[in-house]
């Protein structure tokens, strides 16, 4: 324990190492937070659930905190639902017989200086034989009334206002999410339309024809910002992937590093203790392994068998067993083997395994620590590399998969920098954090490096 504290104090002499430790601790806290607040099943559901989970999120939205810098030009989403009350309200009057009006008025305040990204209206009708009908109007703050059309309402009708071609034509070629909000004074050829702020209303004049038949509506005016990290091309909240990517990246990097370092270490110890043909065999396998194309082999495994991240982890460890570290550790073990205490252990009849595992390995175990810490980022990036090649885990949301989505959808080309920068930033943080600490550890454990 005392040794540990002393060692830790020595580590804090390196300012960069302190920064690295802070980063690592931060990432671990983030990983714990992700696992605790968002259980595994929930995370997978949020990432792969389908339209009903992310249908209300804007597509390719920037993170919400961007508005701090851009001011009021990026609107948030506005959602109005006649079933949930709020500012939306219903009116119903008897007309004749079983026919009743079912009007829905959805007023909302629009304050942004930018246009929304999309407008969708979801209509839900309940009927047995005769479906309800609805006629929609758009009322602007300056009192204009723009008809949006009429429709018969089935059980679940989606009325995508922003891709309505006829409405676009009626609005003089402006796409509806612009035309419906534009200040008429600014609408002119070759002028940049500006939205009119104030109270808008979507009025649905509905008619039901049967006893018990109802009409409900939900209006989604999609904004341009969402959540902590924005959304991707499928409207998914990127925060989920960034959060859950942390424990996955850390676990993958850590397990791969521990697995390959420990096996390498054990193999080197066994080889150098027994010597002879076993040692020679281990040496030759190491040399062959050094020239094996690791990444292509992983790609083959990913393409032909499984993309499951834990299976890939197994292959990574297997390929790392006979890494070049064997040669390094062997050189150290050869020195340890000649030490008097080993000779003494041999003399009183300690078994081979006892000598290897209890006397030789603990002696140089500390040198494992730096190499093990510096290996972690390598594996974190390996996972990201595979994901970028499209060989990421099919179920789990990871940083690499977000990067891959961004890459395949041309995020950089379309100027959606946040989509690339967020996972990249986290990857970089993880990589640098561990690398910096590993470098400091290396200097502490290899005094030869400290001198120069």
């Amino acid at each position: 324990m005392k040794r540990f504290i002393g060692f830790f104090r020595e580590l804090t002499h390196y300012r960069s190492a302190v920064l690295g430790i802070l980063i690592i601790v931060g990432l671990i806290v983030l990983a714990l937070y992700a696992v605790i607040t968002l259980p595994y099943k929930e995370a997978v559901r949020l990432w792969r659930g389908g339209e009903e989970i992310w249908g209300d999120y804007p597509r390719n939205a920037l993170p919400q905190w961007v508005t701090i810098f851009t001011g009021n030009s990026l609107p948030k989403s506005i959602i109005l639902d006649s079933r949930q009350g709020g500012s939306a309200y219903k009116e119903s009057k008897e007309v004749a017989g079983e026919m009743r009006t079912a009007d829905i008025i959805m007023p909302f305040e629009y304050t942004s200086t930018g246009f929304p990204s999309e407008i969708n209206l979801f209509l839900v009708g309940k009927s047995i034989a005769k479906k309800p009908q609805a006629t929609m109007f758009w009322k602007t703050p300056d009192g204009r009334e723009i008809p949006l059309g009429d429709t018969t309402v089935g059980t679940n009708e989606r009325f995508a206002i922003s891709i309505d071609q006829r409405l676009t034509r009626r609005l003089g070629g402006l796409s509806p999410q612009v035309g419906l909000f534009a200040d008429p004074a600014t609408v002119a050829p070759e002028a940049k339309p500006v939205p009119l702020q104030g109270r808008y209303q979507l009025v649905i004049e509905g008619l039901t024809f049967e006893e018990g038949s109802t009409l409900e509506a939900r209006l989604v005016v999609y904004g341009k910002v969402y959540g902590l990290a924005g959304t991707d091309h499928r409207r998914r909240d990127i925060t989920v992937a960034l959060l859950w990517g942390t424990p996955i990246a850390l676990a993958f990097g850590f397990l791969a590093a521990v697995g390959s370092t420990l096996t390498t270490f054990t193999i080197a110890a066994i080889g150098s203790w027994f010597g002879g043909w076993l040692d020679a065999l281990i040496q030759r396998i190491t040399e062959i392994n050094a020239v094996l194309p690791t990444l292509p082999i992983l790609i083959l495994v990913g393409t032909f068998y499984t993309r499951n991240i834990w299976a890939i982890l197994g292959v990574v460890i297997a390929l790392g067993i006979f890494s070049l570290g064997v040669k390094n550790y062997r050189a150290m073990f050869l020195q340890v083997r000649e030490m008097p205490y080993i000779e003494a252990a041999h003399a009183y009849g300690a078994s081979n395994l006892r000598i290897i595992f209890q006397y030789m390995m603990p002696k140089i175990a500390p040198v494992l620590i730096p190499s093990f810490v510096t290996l972690i980022p390598t594996f974190v990036f390996l996972e990201a590399s595979l994901a970028v090649l499209g060989l990421g885990d099919p179920v789990l949301p990871t940083w690499g998969k977000v990067l891959n989505d961004a890459y395949t959808n041309g995020a950089l080309y379309n100027g959606q920098y946040y989509w690339v920068l967020e996972p990249a930033f986290l990857l970089m943080l993880a990589g640098l954090g561990f690398a910096v600490v590993g470098f400091a550890l290396d200097r502490i454990f290899n005094p030869r490096l400290r001198e120069v």
Binding site: V291, L292, L412, R448
Partner: protein, 378 residues
């Protein structure tokens, strides 16, 4: 890590009056030994690839399907058989295909078949692609690959050579100014190499292509391809800037850091002190007493950089749409073109082994222990 163990070894100083035939024999012997060892390595690597690829029976299925297709085309295209009814034609195709499968020994046990695949792969008899084709329109995997090699070679050779020399000279420079501000900056920057080259590539693309629009998004030359050679070269250079910069950013600091440490260890050797005492200029000391004995480990580490770069190129080329071997592998994965994937892995294994072998020859020429047959103890 490799450099470290090497640094621990004692380097025998060259003896005076080397007998030339003896030296040559030793070098040849060493190169032969390494050649055989590396060939065995290549065979094992390729065999492993074959095993992995065929475990699910993919290669067999593909070969059989190809045979059926060929036989089918042959039978249906034969004018003398046109009059036969369809069922008889099909029976005929089945019969000939069965004979062909037998002839190619596809009905043999897996071990024997795997040996067949191994010899095919080793002789670069890589079969035909399922979907991809070379620019000249050929479906031969070998031709598709051969067409891509120059692109990869241009990129990695440029980056590696630039890296190698910059790192060595910067390290020599820093080892003279050990402890200076610049030296400390380089040490502080060394961990940045934990981030792979393709990752820097994304940032470079963001800055220079997306924001400033000064350099191209990717690819190797402009479209339409410039006709005159100088224009072609200029266009190629313009496209090479970002990928090469990404590769250099990735390994320059760790390279300088390693060499600097290495040179510092060597410059504290007794014979360097001795040379200083003799009053030799620092240039001569550097060249003759520091650089000369460190060359073999430099070459070794260069071999390992090459290994990583061949593999790292896969994603770098993908990010920059560079039409090399790596991007081909990415394309083949995304459309599941199995023969191309296997052929590509085999090629990468070959490239690795060849580059290591070439460097081994250089090593043999540089290492005095090989040259004079000095002591061979670990």
């Amino acid at each position: 890590m490799a450099t470290e163990t090497l640094a621990k070894r004692q380097w025998a100083l060259p003896k005076i009056g080397i007998r030339v035939p003896d030296t040559l024999a030793r070098i040849v012997k060493y190169v032969l030994y390494r050649g055989v060892a590396l060939f065995v390595t290549a065979v094992i690597g390729v065999y492993l690839t074959v095993l992995i690829a065929n475990m699910g029976g993919y290669l067999d299925t593909i070969r059989k399907a190809q045979i059926r297709e060929q036989v089918g085309a042959m039978v249906l295209g034969d004018p003398t058989l046109q009059t036969l009814p369809a069922s008889e034609l099909r029976q005929r195709i089945d019969e000939i295909a069965a004979i062909e499968i037998q002839r190619l020994r596809l009905d043999q046990p897996f071990f024997l078949r795997s040996i067949n695949y191994l010899t095919d792969a080793l002789t670069l008899n890589l079969g035909r692609a399922e979907y991809l084709a070379s620019n000249s329109g050929s479906r031969q995997v070998r031709l598709i690959l051969l067409e891509r090699i120059p692109a990869t070679l241009v990129l990695s050779a440029t980056a590696n050579i630039a890296l190698f020399f910059t790192a060595i000279f910067a390290a020599l420079f820093l080892s003279r100014r050990y402890g200076s501000l610049l030296d400390r900056i380089v040490i502080a920057m060394a961990p940045s190499s934990s981030v792979p080259a393709w990752f820097y590539g994304i940032f470079l693309l963001l800055i220079f292509a997306a924001v400033f629009h000064v350099l191209p998004w990717g690819g190797m030359v402009d479209t339409p391809v410039p006709e005159s050679t100088p224009a072609y070269a200029a266009s190629l250079l313009k496209h090479m800037v970002l990928p090469v910069a990404a590769m250099i950013l990735h390994s320059i600091f760790i390279g300088i850091y390693n060499w600097r440490t290495f040179f510092l260890i060597y410059s504290s050797e007794d014979y360097v002190e001795m040379a200083k005492a003799k009053g030799l200029t620092s240039r001569t000391i550097e060249r003759r007493y520091i650089l000369r004995p460190t060359l073999p480990p430099i070459v070794t580490s260069f071999a390992f950089t090459l290994i990583y770069l061949w593999q790292g190129a896969i994603i770098l080329e993908t990010v920059f749409s560079w039409p090399g071997v790596g991007r081909l592998l990415y394309q083949a994965i995304s459309i599941f073109d199995v023969p191309v994937i296997v052929g590509n892995v085999v090629l990468i294994a070959y490239l690795l082994v060849t580059s290591v072998f070439l460097l081994d020859i250089v090593y043999a020429l540089l290492d005095p222990r090989v040259k004079v047959g000095g002591e061979r103890r670990a």
